[in-house]
């Protein structure tokens, strides 16, 4: 298991390194950063001055090395718009996004996995049909619309929960439901399909032939094998959620990292966009790595991969 973890870790670092270079290049691919910084009314001399001050006139690799060293120390430069360190800006916004992401994926997993298992135990039963209905509805309903309905019902009509903001834990309930419900259908269906498949397998028949009870058959022998593809999917979704859901953050006025990314793109605030892309990519890399390790623990056949 340890060699596998080390190998995967090396691979993750390699990907992270590549991604960092690409996100560094982004600053230049989107045009002349000095011109962007100077604004539309600036003269050619102003732009040249800015180019020198910010060091854009030096060789690209030197700039990348410098940028990487600072980034590793948590220094992503200054936001063009806020004139504040990007790192502090992101850290502040990321908090909201991380709470929302963790709550969202937990909500999705805690509803989708039991529902998927229950649906697989009795295919075509009432439970199965309810699960299918919920997953179709979840996929058909746009998040902004579902969010608005929840606000109208629970915040305005019933007055049970606050409609927007991020001050208390109660503010996170509705956004969690919306974000989680968005991820739920895919997890539910994958769990159901995996369980159906596994429950028909020969080793489940062996477990029953040994005299194992139904609970042991389902949870010790079947679920462990059925859940493997779900782990990979959940990791991707988790990465996606930590990248911030612009829609959910906008609807509930939760000013998280997703919202910041959207704002910064609109304002041409390149250092912020660059840093956000780097941070979001790192989340993906970390979760993919964790999913690989978890899957290798679940399925020993993967350890040699």
């Amino acid at each position: 298991m340890l060699p596998f973890i080390l190998k995967r870790l090396g691979l993750a670092l390699l990907v992270a390194f590549t991604v960092s270079f690409i996100s560094f290049l982004l600053l230049f691919l989107s045009g002349d950063p000095a011109a962007a910084l100077a604004g539309e009314t600036a003269s050619g001399e102003d732009i040249e001055a800015i180019r020198r001050v910010y060091g854009f006139d030096r060789p690209m690799l030197v700039q990348y090395g410098e940028w990487l060293v600072s980034a590793l120390q948590g220094d992503f430069g200054e936001s063009y718009y806020f004139k504040l360190p990007v790192a502090g800006l992101i850290a502040e916004r990321l908090q909201v996004t991380m709470i929302l992401g963790v709550c969202g994926i937990s909500f999705a997993l805690l509803t989708a996995v039991p529902l998927g298992v229950a649906a697989a135990i009795r295919p075509n039963s009432i439970v199965d049909r309810v699960a299918l209905f919920m997953s179709v509805a979840g996929q058909a309903m746009p998040s902004f619309w579902f969010g608005l309905i929840l606000i109208v019902v629970f915040a305005i009509q019933l007055g049970m929960l606050p409609p927007s903001g991020a001050e208390t834990w109660r503010h996170f309930i509705l956004p969690t439901v919306v974000l989680g419900y968005y991820a739920m259908p895919a997890i539910m269906r994958l769990t159901r399909a995996g369980m159906l498949d596994t429950l028909n397998s020969d080793y489940i028949r062996t477990a029953r032939a040994k005299g194992a009870g139904e609970g042991r058959v389902l949870f010790k022998h079947a679920l462990r094998n059925a859940i493997i593809p779900v782990v990979s999917l959940a990791a991707v979704q988790m990465g996606f959620m930590l990248g911030g859901s612009i829609v959910v953050e906008s609807v509930f006025a939760l000013h998280g990292a997703g919202y910041l990314a959207w704002e910064s793109i609109a304002r041409n605030d390149l250092p912020t966009v660059q840093a956000l892309i780097l941070v979001f990519s790192m989340f993906y890399i970390v979760f993919t790595f964790l999913a690989d390790v978890l899957n290798a623990w679940l399925d020993p056949r993967m350890r040699s991969a």
Binding site: R205, T206, A207, K210, G211, A212, N225, D299, P300
Partner: protein, 332 residues
Amino acid sequence: MTDDTLLEVRNLTLDIPTGAGTLHAVRGIDFELRRGETLSIVGESGSGKSLTSLAVMGLLGKGIRRDADVMRFEDTDLLTASRRRMRALRGDRIAMIFQEPMTSLNPAYTIGDQLIETLKLHRRVSTSAARARAVELLEKVGITAAASRLGQYPHQLSGGLRQRVMIALALMCEPDLLIADEPTTALDVTIQAQILRLLVDLTREMDMAMILITHDLGVVARVADKVAVMYAGELVETGPAAAVFERPSHPYTRGLLRCIPQPGKTDRGSQLGTIPGIVPSLVGEVTGCAFRTRCPHAVPECRAAIPVRGDAAHDFRCVHADGAISAEKETA
């Protein structure tokens, strides 16, 4: 039936509802097994051998209807036994090994985990005692370096080794009855003989009864006490192995026996005997002899109810009083 009867099955019927109607997969079969005895069930694939053994285990899939006059294991009525009682029997008193060694072990757990689990499901034993038992059994089934195998996963073993592990798993609790459903069909020919030898030796050594389902009539002739020949869900002939091989009475049994080459009797280079024709559909009402569509001696009466011939020990079902043996000799 006598006192040392271990398993008794009378008039077992299995129906499977399908889109096209009810599939009468197994129809009215009888057999019994005494302690230590080996019964071999033979017949082409699709004749209902696996379903019959799963019915004994209480492991039929959902939707399959089981009906019988008698289904008794020792003192337990298998028809009315609770799920709990069935669980207690399975793996402990009745064990089963399957055709597919490659997929019959859980890929997520070590060999040791799976062996130990079986013993712990039925006995209050410490983990170290269960480990010791697992090592003992792995050695018994001919696996070298048994102790170090406990930590291995199924995918690290060959098919032959996995089937040996399955046998060890089945024997963990010293069952009274072992059901082996084509245990060697999926293995290399060279391994097949070894595994069968092992099964036969172990059943003798442990005084265990066995239901051996196999295509290999050569094996049956050597190891079985009794033979039951199944065709399309029916038992067409049952009896002591010696009697069935000496006087195969049902035309289907004779057809099967002709399928195996016999040293000295079969001409070198002559074609392997096969029974021409296809098995009839068992969906909807099934009457008369199912073999009549392929039988060289079929007569119009084969469509009606078929009498049971022979004696209590060796019987067969055929409209011809002698199973058409005389007719066959004339044409030969």
